[in-house]
């Protein structure tokens, strides 16, 4: 059996392990743009904060691929696909045949229109900061650049109030830098938290010295003789800063398979991680999967899903049988000492048997979103100890939540 | 093929070393597994002078090729070594669940050599071997040993094969006990284990067995099961066990009573399986692994002198040897004697036989009450029998003499006592009076381990069941040969049965499934083998493999010095008539036996004068290597 895995991060790696477990002798080739072995993107903000060293970013050691008997083509991009001929075309002109293909190309950072070319570039980062002073936070190089700038004491502007932006703000604050967080929405974390949680966290950030500006749009980057000098907001005002980090979320990188397999936002896959074309699998941030309620499909760019989906894909590719139980969107983070967890559905429509239950003690906050008698979502701030049991309740079908949150 | 056969695990007790080797493909095709592969290993690992109780005598446990699967009655384990009782070849087979557990641990055959410097037991946990100190359990009976080992290991669901005090004391008919009450009893394998300072072999297996062609194998197994359940004799076997036919055998005048002086007892009802059921001694039926009948018994005595006694059994042979054989008709005493044999780890056939022989000596004045330390060992004295059992196991007083087996005891006591020492090749005869069953007589005489029915069970010659009569007709061409008093065609009958029996043993099936009940035919065994291993084998080929096994076993004895004169029967059966069968044919006269032997050797292609297999015969069976070894030893004509 000849396996080709395009992209090795969380999903690709766990697929690799699953394949090797079931098929120790099959031919496995991995293709990845990075020249070094897989590293953890989730750890980048922790790296910036200094919680992990640069070497600890790597998920596997250099020897890993050789040890697993895997052919690794690093620093090469897969550019084309021929599902009928079962071939993958590489940027350097090589062509790889496959029996089973896993697409784990991940996601790229969203680049806003005002970002100068070469800034938060299309590989999800890159660009020469000395020239533009604008970067994303997607790759190791991005993180190194941000950390260097922060340590040099340059003021940093973070554009985007999502989880990455907030995590970066916290990381920089830990380094002693006072970052500014520019948020387009009226509140931070608007996609992953409810209003009250956002406000609690926003106030906490402010108390800790992070400047938060909500409801502001960036019009352009202000350039001066020494490079970037800040950003110009839509109302014309200028915020000074030497480094602008764009954290406007990510989108699946479907271009390799686009046009060949069914794609919505991400590559549509079944619970077995199969795409619409036989023997092509997808997993991780690029995949769009049924959710746990079986009500729709979702792209979920979170670590546990990626590694689990990778394992499922690998197992099925190697002839085993495994199923992914569905996407349950969730987030956990440490906001400068205050933990925050959210999961599932966060907004309760006014009609249709929805309601929410919330409890607040000081800065400790809990909110459950209930549909019928079933819990389908939760937000926890401060005391998050019950997050796991609540998640389990959601997975079990949502019943029994009263017992879980009993005072 | 490896997935169904398992590996060979070698254990050297002297060096405290264990290693695994895969079983060779061709060995499976030639010798099938179980008893066959055991014979092959023993032949390779021993020479003509191997001391049965020395460290070089390998003790080989072979689970059947099909043990552990759903094939009905497939739970047998064959133990093979050189016998300390006879000094000839020994294969002895036990039921229970131990062999299956070994298979689940990924091991088909366990070969134990050497001798530990102090008592040990082996703990085989899924193929990993540990040598554990057995000094704390040395001396314990089998039941206690089983519980202690399980406690020591910390898992009560494991399987233990153990010896009792009799094995520790090298009693020549000590057995190896599987699952507490299932014995590999005959020929003293327990003494070989004792001589190795090996108290027990505990096994846990959590693995799986996979047939090469699972669906076909499943189908074949289901077919076997249904065929067995349709057998006319099956229900009786299930309900009354082997002892269900005690009364029938007695009426056939084949029931060895009073140390074979008689072949019928006045009232055997108290010794019958029916009695055990009706009087409530039988508490439950017990099955070996994958058995559809459950002929093994469990009895308990809740009242009377022996209240509190509980044991597996008694089987027909036990009821015969401690019952009628010793003139005893006290069921409870027989059960008690059975319990003692089981927990002390002895063969009930030999043990009852040596006691019956002593009774006759006592009656005739060759053994006095003083020799017996005051024990009044009269016919029918049940309590004396029980006491004697204990003394034999612990080698106390005259028990020490009897523990060497009846042949050695007769030599020591002297006089004419050899005449009623009912043994051949040194093994006490099992409870069939062969004077009234000629195929049995021939089978017993040619049995490489001595006079008993577990080399070749020719039950069909009695013509008791329609299936048996049909089988005789198939072998001989006519149903009329289903008559135990006839001498004609006995060689054919014996040879067919011994081939079939060898295949049965090699696959790990119970002999009842193929040679006492007939549901598992050679054709079905060939089908099972083919589906299990993925190697197509025909009915003829598998029977030829059976003959290869039988011939190799014969060759072991030939290499060790056996000649035609060794193929004989006990003196009493060859020279004394039984009062219960006055007809002149009811004796295994030497001339008659000679005639049958001639036919038998010719049929096999063995030399008539020496009984040695000829070079052509060996070559035609693919035993060329064996032929060359024998030729080098000057044992080939």
């Amino acid at each position: 059996m000849n396996y080709v895995v395009v992209g090795v991060s969380a999903a690709g790696l766990s697929a690799l392990r699953a394949i090797r477990e079931l098929d120790p002798h099959g031919d496995v080739t991995v293709v990845d743009e990075e020249t070094r072995p897989a590293y953890s993107r989730v750890l980048l903000t922790h790296y910036i904060a200094g919680r992990v060293g640069e070497r600890d970013l790597f998920l596997v050691e250099e020897e890993f691929y050789r040890r697993c008997g895997v052919r690794a083509l690093l620093g090469v991009r897969a550019t084309g696909l021929d599902p009928d001929g079962r071939q993958v075309h590489l940027a350097d002109g090589r062509v790889l045949g496959y029996d089973r293909l896993l697409v784990a190309t991940g996601a790229r950072a969203v680049v806003p229109a005002w970002s100068p070319p070469g800034g938060a570039g299309d590989r999800g980062g890159g660009g020469e900061t000395g020239e533009t002073g604008v970067t994303g936070l997607r790759t190791r190089e991005d993180a190194v650049r941000i950390r260097k700038a922060a340590l040099a004491g340059r003021p940093v502007l973070i554009v985007g109030g999502g989880p990455v932006g907030v995590k970066l703000a916290c990381a920089l604050r830990e380094l002693g830098v006072i970052p500014t967080l520019l948020v387009g929405s009226p509140r931070i974390l608007s996609q992953v938290a409810d209003r009250e949680a956002s406000l609690i966290l926003e106030r906490h950030l402010a108390r800790c010295g992070v400047r938060v500006r909500c409801g502001v749009e960036v019009r352009e980057v202000a350039r001066g003789p020494h490079g970037t000098e800040g950003v110009v907001l839509s109302d014309g005002s200028v915020l000074p800063g030497r480094l602008v980090v764009v954290c406007k979320g990510v989108e699946p990188r479907t271009e390799l398979v686009g046009g060949h397999v069914a794609v919505r936002r991400g590559v549509l896959v079944s619970g077995a991680m199969r795409t619409s074309v036989p023997d092509i699998y997808a997993a991780g941030d690029v995949a769009e999967c049924p959710d746990i309620w079986g009500e729709g499909t979702r792209v979920s760019a979170i670590w546990p899903h990626a590694s689990r989906q990778g394992r499922v894909a690998g197992t099925n590719m190697a002839g085993g049988r495994d199923l992914f139980d569905g996407v349950l969107p969730r987030n956990a983070m440490d906001v400068l000492g205050t933990p925050f967890v959210s999961m599932g559905v966060l907004d309760a429509p006014a009609e249709g048997g929805w309601r929410s239950v919330s409890r607040r003690r000081g800065d400790s906050y809990l909110r459950l979103v209930i549909r019928g008698d079933s819990v389908v979502g939760a937000v926890l701030v401060g005391c998050v100890r019950l997050a796991g049991p609540i998640q389990a309740a959601i997975r079990r079908g949502g019943r029994g939540w009263e017992e879980v949150v009993a005072p | 093929m490896r997935e169904i056969a398992g590996d060979i695990l070698y254990v050297d007790l002297s060096e405290r070393r264990a290693w695994r080797e895969p079983v060779l493909h061709e060995d499976i095709l030639n010798f099938l597994g179980g008893r066959g592969l055991n014979a092959h290993l023993l032949w390779k690992l021993t020479g003509p002078d191997t001391d049965p109780l020395g460290p070089d005598n390998p003790l080989i446990f072979g689970a059947g090729l099909l043990s552990g699967t759903e094939v009905p009655c497939s739970g047998r384990t064959t133990v093979t070594c050189r016998s300390p009782a006879t000094r000839w070849y020994l294969k002895t087979s036990g039921g229970g669940h131990w062999g299956g557990e070994l298979k689940f641990a990924g091991i088909g055959h366990l070969v134990i050599t050497g001798r530990a410097d102090h008592p040990v037991y082996l703990w085989i946990d899924d193929g990993r071997v540990e040598f554990r100190d057995a000094r704390p359990i040395w001396g314990k009976d089998v039941r206690e040993t089983d519980l202690s080992v399980k406690k020591d290991v910390g898992d009560e669901d494991i399987q233990v094969a153990a010896i009792g005090p009799a094995g520790e004391r090298l009693v020549k008919f000590a057995g190896i006990m599987f699952s507490v009450y299932n014995t590999a009893g005959r020929g003293g394998a327990g003494a070989v284990m004792g001589a190795k300072n090996l108290k027990a072999v505990a096994v846990r297996g959590t693995g799986a067995l996979r047939a090469a062609q699972p669906a076909r194998f499943h189908e074949a197994a289901v077919e076997c099961r249904e065929a067995l359940l349709a057998e006319s004799g099956g229900e009786g076997l299930a309900r009354y066990g082997t002892a269900g036919s005690v009364e029938a055998v007695n009426e056939l005048r084949a029931w060895a009573s009073y140390n074979f002086r008689r072949s019928r007892d006045e009232d055997v009802y108290p010794l019958s399986g029916q009695y055990l059921v009706e009087r409530g001694y039988l508490k439950r039926r017990v099955a070996c692994l994958a058995c559809v009948f459950g002929c093994h018994r469990y009895t308990e005595l809740t009242r009377g002198e022996f209240a509190g006694c509980y044991t597996g059994g008694p089987e027909l042979e036990t009821l015969g040897s401690f019952g009628s054989g010793c003139g005893v008709s006290d069921t409870e005493a027989v059960i008690k004697a059975n319990e003692l044999c089981n927990i002390l780890g002895m063969d009930t056939i030999s043990c009852g036989s040596v006691i019956a022989w002593t009774m006759e000596c006592y009656e005739k004045g060759l053994v006095s009450a003083r020799d017996l330390d005051g024990l009044d060992l009269r016919w029918g004295d049940a309590k004396a029998v029980i006491e004697m059992v204990r003394r034999i196991a612990y080698r106390e007083g005259f028990g020490d003499v009897l523990a060497e087996g009846v042949r050695a005891a007769a030599r020591q006591v002297g006089g004419d006592s050899y005449r009623w020492a009912v043994e051949a090749k040194g093994l006490e005869q099992s409870r069939v009076d062969t004077r009234s069953a000629k195929a049995y007589a021939l089978a017993f005489a040619v049995n490489p381990r001595g006079a008993d029915h577990l080399h070749t069970e020719t039950f069909a010659e009695f013509g008791l069941s329609p299936e048996g009569r049909a089988l005789i007709a198939r072998i001989t061409g006519d149903e009329k040969y289903a008559d135990p008093c006839m001498v004609e065609k006995r060689a054919e009958i014996v040879r067919w049965h011994e081939d079939c029996f060898a295949v049965t043993d090699a696959l790990g099936l119970c002999a009842f499934s193929s040679t006492a009940l007939y549901g598992v035919t050679p054709a079905r065994m060939a089908e099972l083998f083919s589906a299990a291993t993925g190697h197509e084998i025909s009915e003829e080929e598998i029977m030829r493999a059976g003959r290869r096994i039988v011939t190799l076993e014969k060759c072991f004895n030939v290499r060790a010095g056996a000649v035609r004169a060794d193929d004989c029967l006990p003196w009493r059966l060859m020279h004394e008539h039984t009062p219960d069968r006055p007809d002149p044919d009811a004796i295994n006269a030497p001339e008659e036996l000679d005639r049958m032997l001639d036919e038998y050797y010719s049929l096999h292609g063995w030399d008539l004068e020496t009984s040695w297999p000829t070079s052509e015969t060996l070559e035609s069976l693919g035993l060329g290597d064996v032929a060359r070894r024998l030729a080098a030893a000057g044992k080939l004509r």
Binding site: D322, R395, R396 | E70, T206, H218, R284, V286, V292, G312
Partner: protein
């Protein structure tokens, strides 16, 4: 009529064919450690008792399962283990009062009896009649008759 898997421990001879049949049906191999029904042996007393899922009215294994992996089939006729959800926490194993739930030694997920989806193999091979798949009324009738016979021996 609603059928039950009824165990008559008295009749079990301990042949363990049920284990072989079960592991073959579910895993295609013969292995007691993969069998949903297990025969517990007390060998010194030659006693064997088949232990299999009791199909409790309020199954503790299902109640204790944090992920909903232990669940009934959609029509409620037999039990299931949803392997994609099982995290191997062994709660079910620990709470089962019969020891009838176990862990799959290879995949690390819980296994329990699914009645072969309504056609139990173990029953088919049990020649001793210790495992039967019958309406509860049949079991009760037999029990009643046995009791009556013991009161007034015929």
């Amino acid at each position: 009529m609603e059928k039950f898997l009824v165990v008559y421990p008295d009749l079990c001879t301990g042949c363990r064919l049920c284990e072989a049949a079960c592991s073959y049906r579910h895993e295609g191999v013969y292995s007691p450690s993969l069998s949903r029904v297990r025969v517990v042996k007390f060998e010194d007393r030659c006693l064997s008792v088949p232990v299999v899922c009791n199909y409790c009215e309020q199954p503790p294994c299902e109640a204790s399962c944090p992920t909903g992996a232990m669940s009934a089939a959609p029509d409620g006729r037999y039990a299931l283990v949803r392997e994609d959800r099982c995290i191997g926490c062994k709660e079910c194993v620990n709470v089962c009062p019969l020891g009838a739930v176990r862990m799959h030694p290879r995949t690390g997920v819980a296994v329990r009896c699914d009645l072969c989806r309504g056609d139990p193999e173990c029953v088919k091979v049990c020649t001793a009649g210790a495992l039967r798949y019958e309406p509860l009324e049949a079991a009760v009738r037999e029990k009643r008759r046995a009791r009556a016979a013991s009161l007034n021996p015929v």
